[in-house]
C-alpha cells in the first residue's frame, strides 16, 4: 500500500491560444515514511506537480491518491512549505507556528500549549515571542517548517525550502530536517536544484526533464542512515552524484543558446 500515488497526472495551460505543457503524464508511487526528492532544471514542472498534490490547481488529466482516496482539487490534505518562509510579520513566532491549528479550530491557548515544546526541542527556544523580521533566514525557515509539521498531515511537500540560505546554514538545516523526519516519521517530498542535497537527504530521487516536464528516472539512494557529514565524501555518494550529473547533462539546451 502506497501512502501517496500520482497517477498519470499532467498539466496543460493555454497561453495566447497555444497549449503549453507544464507537466507530461507523470506517475509516482511513494510508500509511507519515505524521504523523496524531486530534482530537475527550472521550468520542469516541479512546482506545478506540488501545486496539484496540494490541491491548489487541478491537473489536466490523472489522479492524486492519498491513502487510496482521490484528493484532486482538495487543499488542506498535505502540508506544504515554500522557499519563502511566508511568516506573518504581525504575529510572533509562536503565533505563526500555530496558524494551521487555529484554522482547524483549535483554541489559541491550546495550540500554543502544543507548539511550545516543539519550539524548544527544535532550536527556537527563546524566540517564541520575537517577530519574524528579528530572526535570521535559517531560524525563519525552522519556524515555517514547524508550522507545517504542527498542521499534522502525514505527507509534507517542501519546495526548495533551503534555496535562499547560505551554504553553512543550509548544511545545518539539512541535519536538522533529518532529525525532525526521523522523530516524526512523515512522508516527505522535497524539491531541490542541489544534487548533493538530494542525495544526502533522500531515499529516492525522481529526476524530471526540461520543459515539457517529464519524469526521466527514479534512483534509489543506497546510503546508510543516519547520515553524517562524512556521508558526503563516501564512494557511494560520489558515484550517485556522477549518475545524477550525467542524467541532468543530457538535457537539451534552451533555444537560442549553443
Amino acid at each position: 500500500m502506497y501512502k501517496l500515488k500520482v497517477v498519470d497526472a499532467s498539466k496543460i495551460f493555454r497561453r495566447d491560444g497555444q497549449e503549453v505543457v507544464a507537466l507530461q503524464e507523470t506517475t509516482m508511487q511513494i510508500p509511507a515514511g519515505r524521504f523523496v526528492s524531486i530534482i530537475g532544471p527550472s521550468g520542469c514542472g516541479k512546482s506545478t506537480l506540488f501545486n496539484m498534490i496540494a490541491g491548489l490547481i487541478k491537473p489536466t488529466t490523472g489522479k492524486i491518491l492519498l491513502d487510496g482516496q482521490n484528493i484532486v482539487g482538495k487543499s488542506g490534505y498535505v502540508g506544504y512549505m515554500l522557499q519563502k518562509d511566508l511568516l506573518l510579520p504581525w504575529r510572533t513566532i509562536l503565533d505563526n507556528v500555530i496558524l494551521g491549528l487555529e484554522i482547524r479550530g483549535v483554541s489559541k491557548r491550546e495550540a500554543r500549549k502544543r507548539a511550545q515544546p516543539l519550539l524548544e526541542r527544535y532550536g527556537l527556544k527563546g524566540f517564541e515571542n520575537n517577530y519574524p523580521p528579528e530572526l535570521s533566514g535559517g531560524m525563519r525557515q525552522r519556524a515555517a517548517l514547524l508550522r507545517t509539521l504542527l498542521y499534522d498531515q502525514d505527507v509534507i511537500l517542501l519546495d526548495e525550502p533551503f534555496g535562499a540560505l547560505d551554504a553553512q546554514t543550509r548544511l545545518q538545516m539539512q541535519g536538522w530536517l533529518l532529525r525532525i523526519w526521523e522523530d516524526f516519521q512523515k512522508t516527505i517530498l522535497f524539491i531541490t536544484h542541489d544534487i548533493d542535497e538530494a542525495i544526502y537527504l533522500s531515499d529516492d530521487i525522481y529526476v524530471l526533464s526540461h520543459r515539457p516536464g517529464k519524469l526521466k528516472a527514479k534512483i534509489h539512494v543506497e546510503l546508510e542512515r543516519p547520515r553524517r557529514e562524512e556521508t558526503l565524501l563516501s564512494d557511494n555518494f560520489i558515484s550517485l552524484k556522477q549518475t545524477l550529473l550525467d542524467l541532468l547533462r543530457e538535457e537539451p539546451k534552451d533555444n537560442g543558446t549553443t
Partner: protein, 271 residues
Amino acid sequence: MAQPEKKRYIEDEKKRQQRMKRIVFGGQIGLGILVIVLWEVLTRFEVMDPYYWSSPSTIYETAKVAFLEGTLWDDLVYTSLATLAGFAAGTLFGSLIGLSFWWSAYYSRISEPYLIAFNAIPKLALGPVIVILFGIGFFSKVMLAFLMTVIVTALAAHSGIKAIDKDLEKLLYSLGAKRRHVFTKVVVPTTMPWIVSSLRINIALALAGTIVGEFISSRQGIGRMILYAGQILDIDLVWVGVVVLSLLSMLMYAGTVSLEKLLLRGQEPKQ
C-alpha cells in the same frame, strides 16, 4: 620614567542622542514663544494693525469672556462631536468598502473607476445639497465630514488589498483555510497599515467638512461663531475661533497618532 597618560576619546552615542533631543525640544518650544511674543510686540507698537491682526493678549481675553459668558464651550463640543462622528463613520465605512473589494475581482474592477470619479468630486461643493437634504442640524455636519473621509479611506484600503502577497493566500489555503480565514488572518492585517495611513489626513478633512457645514447654515458650532463674528466685524472673536480650531485640530491629530499605535502594534504605516 612614567608614561604620559594618553588621552582617550570615547564616543557616547546615548549621551549624544539625549543632547540632540534636548536641544530640539527646547528649540521647538522657544520658536513658538518667539512667534507669540513677536505678534504681541508688533501689534502693541502698531507695526501690525491690531484691528486686523488682533494680538495674543486680546485673543486670550476675548476667549475668556466667550468661554465664561458666551457659548464658546458648547460650540466647541458641537464641532468636535460632529467631526469625530463623521471621521469615525467615514473611516469605518471606507475601510469596509475597500476591504470588500478583496472578495471579488469582478466587483472590484467594475467599481474602481467610479470610486476614483467620486473621489474627484469636490465634496464641499455638495454642501448646500447636503443641508437641503439633511437639514441645518447636527446630522448635516456629520454627513459632510463623512463624505470628506469615506472615499479617501476606501481608496487607501483598496491599495492595501492590491499589495497582498498571493503566496500568503496560497499558504493559508494549503493549511486548509476557507476564504473567511484568509480574510481575517491575512487580508485585514495586511491592509491595516494602509487604512491607518489615511487617518491623519482624514481627521483634518473631517474637521474641514464640519466647519463648511456650519458656515453654510447652522445654529451652533465654531464655524457658525466665526461667520457671525465676521459679519459684525468682531475680528478679535474671529481670531479666537481660528485659534480654538487650531488647538482642536492639534489635539485630534495627537489622538490619531495614539490610535495608529494601537491599531498597528509594531507595523509601519504605508502610503
